[in-house]
C-alpha cells in the first residue's frame, strides 16, 4: 500500500471514530434528558450489558442459532433455486410452465407466511427455516434464470458448431457466464433471508437474536435490546461483506460489481 493510500485509510478511520463519538455524546445527552433508562438507556449501560451478554455466553448462543438457521435455510434455497433457475433459463417450455406460478408466489413476502406456517409447523426450528427458504429462493431462482438468458448466443452457437455436447455447453459456458448473476441473486436472497430469520424469531422461535430482543423488550431491558439490534447490524454487514468477497474471488473477470455492489 502506498503512503498516500495509508494516509487516506487512517484519515477515514479517524473521521469514522470522530463521527461515532459525536453520535454517542448526543445519545448520552439525550438519555440524560429523557431520564428513563427503560426507554432510552445510556451508551455506557448498553456497553456494560454487551460485556455481560458476551461474557455469559448468552449472546453467542443466540447468534449461533440464528446463523445456523439462516445458513441452512439459505443453502436449501440455493440448492433448489439455482438448478431450477438454470433449467427454467435453458428450456423455454419449462419457463412457460413455471414462471406464472413463481410470479404469483413471489410478491407474497416470506414474512406474510408466518401466521400460516406457525399454525402448520408450530413454534420451533421448522418455522424459521421455512420462512428463510421462502424468502431467499425467489431472488436466487429469478436471477439465475435471467442470467442464463443473457448468455452470449454467439458463444453457444460457436460451441454447437464445434460439436460440443449439451452437458459440456452447460458446464463450460453457461455456468461460468451465469456465476456473477447467480451471486447477485444469492446476495439478494441472503439479505431477504436475514430479514426473514429475525422476523420469524421475533414471533415464533424459542431462541436466536430475534427472540433475544423481543424477550428483553417484554422485560423492559432496552439496553439489552440495543445490544441485540447492534449485533444484528454487525452480522448483516459481515455476511454481505463475506459473500461479496467470495463472489469477487470466484468471478474475478466480472466487472459488473460496481453496478451491483
Amino acid at each position: 500500500m502506498s503512503l498516500s493510500g495509508l494516509r487516506a485509510v487512517i484519515l477515514g478511520v479517524v473521521r469514522y471514530v470522530l463521527a461515532l463519538g459525536l453520535f454517542v455524546m448526543v445519545w448520552h445527552a439525550a438519555a440524560l434528558w429523557v431520564g428513563k433508562p427503560n426507554t432510552l438507556p445510556q451508551p455506557a449501560e448498553v456497553f456494560v450489558q454487551a460485556i455481560d451478554l458476551v461474557g455469559s455466553g448468552e449472546l453467542f448462543g443466540h447468534v449461533a442459532s440464528t446463523i445456523r438457521r439462516l445458513i441452512a435455510g439459505f443453502l436449501i434455497a440455493c440448492a433448489i433455486g439455482i438448478p431450477v433457475g438454470l433449467a427454467v433459463g435453458l428450456s423455454r417450455s419449462l419457463a412457460q410452465y413455471v414462471t406464472p406460478l413463481v410470479e404469483a408466489l413471489r410478491p407474497i413476502s416470506g414474512i406474510a407466511w408466518i401466521p400460516l406456517a406457525l399454525y402448520a409447523l408450530g413454534v420451533g426450528e421448522a418455522l424459521p427455516h421455512f420462512i428463510i427458504f421462502y424468502g431467499a429462493v425467489f431472488p436466487v431462482l429469478v436471477n439465475t434464470a435471467g442470467a442464463v438468458r443473457q448468455v452470449d448466443p454467439g458463444l453457444l452457437n460457436a460451441a454447437l458448431t464445434l460439436g460440443a455436447s449439451r452437458a459440456l455447453i452447460v458446464r463450460a459456458i453457461v455456468l461460468p457466464a451465469c456465476l456473477p448473476m447467480i451471486f447477485v441473486g444469492a446476495r439478494l436472497g441472503l439479505g431477504v433471508g436475514w430479514m426473514a430469520v429475525i422476523a420469524s424469531e421475533l414471533i415464533g422461535a424459542p431462541s436466536g437474536l430475534g427472540y433475544l430482543i423481543e424477550w428483553n423488550r417484554t422485560m423492559l431491558m432496552s439496553s439489552r435490546v440495543l445490544v441485540g439490534v447492534l449485533t444484528i447490524g454487525f452480522l448483516g454487514y459481515l455476511m454481505d461483506w463475506a459473500l461479496r468477497r467470495t463472489a469477487f474471488a470466484l468471478t474475478p473477470w466480472w466487472t459488473g460489481w460496481r453496478q451491483h455492489g
Binding site: 463521527a19 413476502s109 406474510a112 430479514m195 447490524g233
Partner: protein, 266 residues
Amino acid sequence: MAESNVASGQVRLAVLRGFSIPVVLLIVWQWLAPADASQTGIAPTPLGVLLGFWELTQSGELPRSLLQSLIRIASGFTIAFSLAVTAAVLVWLWRPVEYLLDPLIETFRPVAPIAWIPLAILWFGTGTWAAIFIVGYAVFFPSFVNTLAGLRAVDQRLIDAARTLGAGRWRIIRDLIIPGALPAIVLGARLGIGVGWAAIVAAEMTVGSKSGGGASGGIGQMMFIFLSYSLELRYIIVGMITVGIVALTIDAGFRRLERRLTPWAR
C-alpha cells in the same frame, strides 16, 4: 396472415402452460381439503378463500385493516423519503456533512428494519407511530444511498459546459442535475418501499402476536388475530394474498413512475 396465426398459437400455448400448474394445484387442494375440514372445520379450500375475501370485505375488516396499513406506509414513506433526499443533497453539497453523516449511515444501514420492532414498540407503543418508524427506517437507507449515487453520477463536464455557456444556477439544477439523478432516486424509492411493505407486515404481526389484540390494527395484525383467536386459516390466506397484491401494485406503480418520469433512462 399465417405468421400471425403461428404467433397467436404460440401465445395460446404459453398461456395454457402457464395456467396448467396453478390450476392443477388448486384442484388438488380443493379436492384434498374437505376430508380434513369435516373434522376440524378450519381446513381452507380455494373456494373457501374466495368466499373469505367476500366475507371480510362485507364485514369491513379487510378494507379497514388494509387502509390502515396503506396510510402507515404512505406516511412513513413520505417522511423518510423527504429526509433521505434532503440528507443526500446536503452530503453531496458539503464535505463536513458527509464526514458527519456517512459513518452513522454506514453503521445503521446494515441493521434490518425488522430488528427495530421491539425498540419501536418501547419508544412509540403498539400503535401507528411504531409502524411508521419501521417503514421509515426501511425506506430511508435505499433512498439515501441511491439519491447520493445519482447526484454523484451527474457528469461534471456537462455542468462545466453549461456554466461556460452561461446557464444560471437554477437552470443547471432544473435541466441537468434533477434529470441526471432522477432515475436513481426513483429506483431507491422503489427498493425502499418494497422492504418497507414487508417490514410493516412483520411489525403489525409482532404487535398482534404479543399485545393480544388492542387497537393498533393493520393487515398484519388482522392475520395474526385470525390465528390466535378464531383460527380461521382461510382469512389468513386472504391476508397473504392481499399482502402479495399490494406488493405487486406498489412495485408496478413505481416502475410505471420510473418510465414516465425518466423515459430517457432505459
